[in-house]
Amino acid sequence: MELFRIKRDIPFMSYGRLTTTISLVTFLLAVFFLFTKGLNFSVEFTGGTVMEVQYRQAANLGDIRNRVDALKFGEATVQSLGTSRDVLIRLPSKQGITSAQLSERVMGALKAADPAVELRKVEFVGPSVGEELVTHGLTAVIIVCLGIMLYLALRFEWRFAVSAIIANMHDVVIILGCFAFFQWEFSLTVLAGVLAVLGYSVNESVVVFDRIRENFRKAAMRNKSVSEIIDNAITATMSRTLITHGCTEAMVLSMLVFGGPALHGFAIALTIGIVFGIYSSVLVASPIALWLGVVREHMIKPQKPKDEAVV
């Protein structure tokens, strides 16, 4: 069985203008939503208390909301979590009252209505911790970008490094934009997912770049133009790209289906990341590299004709 029967090279580079426009529009939309709607940060970032409780029967959310509001701890949100028996209660941080007292008083109020309610999870985060997480998260993103660029610049060429990072950041911004648009909760686990996408989607660009470099070295490709060489590289790696991503996506979907609420955000971030990862590495990174003016001489140093890719 062979899924991808491509007779001749697909002229990806000639679609450059179209794909760049699509990317730019989605990117700008993502930025727009990030600024207008903002991310729905989880309690880990904002500080506050989150409680997960489980009832024996389906929970009466309205009643729970009334009971929690009656305690006057500020604006509380009550929502069901996956099943109708699991309930998530979110409370803002409050001065002068410890999280311990807070969760106990809420539980007291809930137990008064239904003694069978079980406290499954409490999470309390002070406001100062959240700020640190944001700075640490941003530092991580910057370090990842710099590290990857440095490696690619050494291994390939700076033009490839720059285009790979732009393609990557494009994926990351679009994931964040989706989280902003749908107001999905942005937790630390999601951040881990987003940063994993950063490492994963650069793989894609690396595979294509590797092929481009190899093509530059091939005698048969000597008289081809740069964009033809890139087209050939993308076409040749096409089946691998789709199969690999399909497999990774199968794993991620499995997490989405079986992983429960704790892994939900993580799996969603990766799904978006994988879909846009395919697109961006093929149709964003390469056109940018071309546009930055990659030519054969950048990849092959004339005085050192040794081909190290073929070890």
């Binding site: 410890t98 630390l188 940063l195 691998r240």
Partner: protein
Amino acid sequence: MNRYPLWKYFIIVVALIVSTIYTLPNFFGETPAVQISSSRQSIPVDTALMGRVEAALTAQHITPDGLFLDGNSLKVRFHDPDTQIKGRDVIQQALGDQYIIALNLLAASPDWLTKLKAYPMFLGLDLRGGVHFLLEVDMKAATDKTMERYAGDIRREFKDKKVRFGAIKRNGNTLEVQLRDAATLKAAEDAVARALPSLSFTSDENSFKLSLTLKPEEITRIQSDAVKQNITTLHNRVNELGVAEPVIQQSGSNRIVVQLPGVQDTAKAKDILGRTATLEVRMVSDDQSMVAEALAGNVPGGYDLLDELTPRGPQKILVSKEVELTGDNINDAQPGFDENGTPAVHINLDSTGASIFRQVTAENIGKRMAMVLVEKGRAEVVTAPVIRSEIGGGRVQISGSMNVAEANDTALLLRAGSLAAPMNIIEERTVGPSLGKENIEKGFHSTLWGFAAIAVFMLIYYRVFGLISALSLGVNLFMLVALLSMLQATLTLPGIAAIALTLGMAIDANVLINERIREELRNGVPPHSAIQAGYQHAWATILDSNITTLIAGLALLIFGSGPVRGFAVVHCLGILTSMFSAVLVSRGFVNLWYGRQRRLTTVSIGQVWKPET
């Protein structure tokens, strides 16, 4: 041509055997156990204790599945949770409060695995249930407390040296002393330089003002001591909760992480962590007739019959009800040595404490004084030294008849009464045990079904090569679990997600290789060369893509916290194992399968489609 030298097969086989051994403990599950450990160095956990526990259990007709000493603790296995609870009660009665007795779950793997140090993976709180607290130490309060102490020290020092001075004002970390003239200013400077070397001072010649500030290294020392003391205090308190494997660690410069696996009653945990014990100094009555009467059960009025903690076990001691001094006046207690080189405990009192202490000691030379630790309304005598002379200056030394371990214990207990600085809970995470179990199940199922889907696809699409890819992916999973068990890295739910994701990404290497082989075959290259070329060409790409992923993983590991770090550890390890399994192991399988055949005309890698030209 597609043959491995023997040593390569040897490496693969050794890696597989080691992985199997270290993965095994994860399959055996856990048995209930009771863990007995000591909170003090002077009360050892040894074979004698093992005998006592065994005897106590046999007396109650409880047969444990096994007893063994493990480092500083004695572990007793039981067949089921019911006997475990019964056993705990029996042991508690037999040993008393000297030991920490906690319920625990032990790996049920056979002894030979345990001897090889093969343990199951260490599960994080989100998988086993428990409480996690992040506490922040109020550093300003710690330095404030020290400054107040220095103000008292200065007052006393100046009075001793007959230096007349005006008001002492505290302004942040600076103390300002108003003096009368140049002569007293000079005298004051000398006194401070001699008695309080940890303060640096500047003087204003015109207004005769002496400003004293803490040296920066002194501030650092105060702060690190405050964290250390609070950690010690927390240790003592957690010990009472009977938690089998508590984690109490410094995190950053001013934070303490407390993790209590398996603790369900968070309210109680918070209550105990936040409690303050008090230390009281009271006089001992050695009047033989009164002691005899008290021992007979008739304690005289105004006295308490308390337990004194000695290396030989608790001993009765008769102590006056009148409190001379409390722990609030104790600034610090450190183990050390006296002038004769015997182990001693040095206690530093604040100014009020010092003057009271001088008076008490002056009046009671030759008598014994007791340091009583009152916790949960129960009083225990930590130590009861004889007063040899009047002690002034607030520096007290307790020495004689103790060894280094006892001096450490005593100092610790004296300090335990108080926190060096107040702490606030800034992060709390409680996970119920049922949620933990569910998380494990969910993580396991996600990985299982994802793996199955990939394996089935690879098998259909690449046939024999697909089977080999799936097998090496399985080896990867095996090695990753073995590595995690070996390193005893904490596995959390994001860690399980990382296992799944790493597997999903690791298949990339095999897809690259298989596609490359197909491509070579498509170009008419004979099978053996195609395999060779496929692996060769793919290797450079695999290396590049894995290194970039590893860069991202390492950055996560360094800058991430909590769930992100749990993810990153597994992710990084997974990248390393996947490179080994996808390239070396899969090639090993291929060579085994096809390498023997000298004339290879076809390989089973699925249909190789050739475009019609």
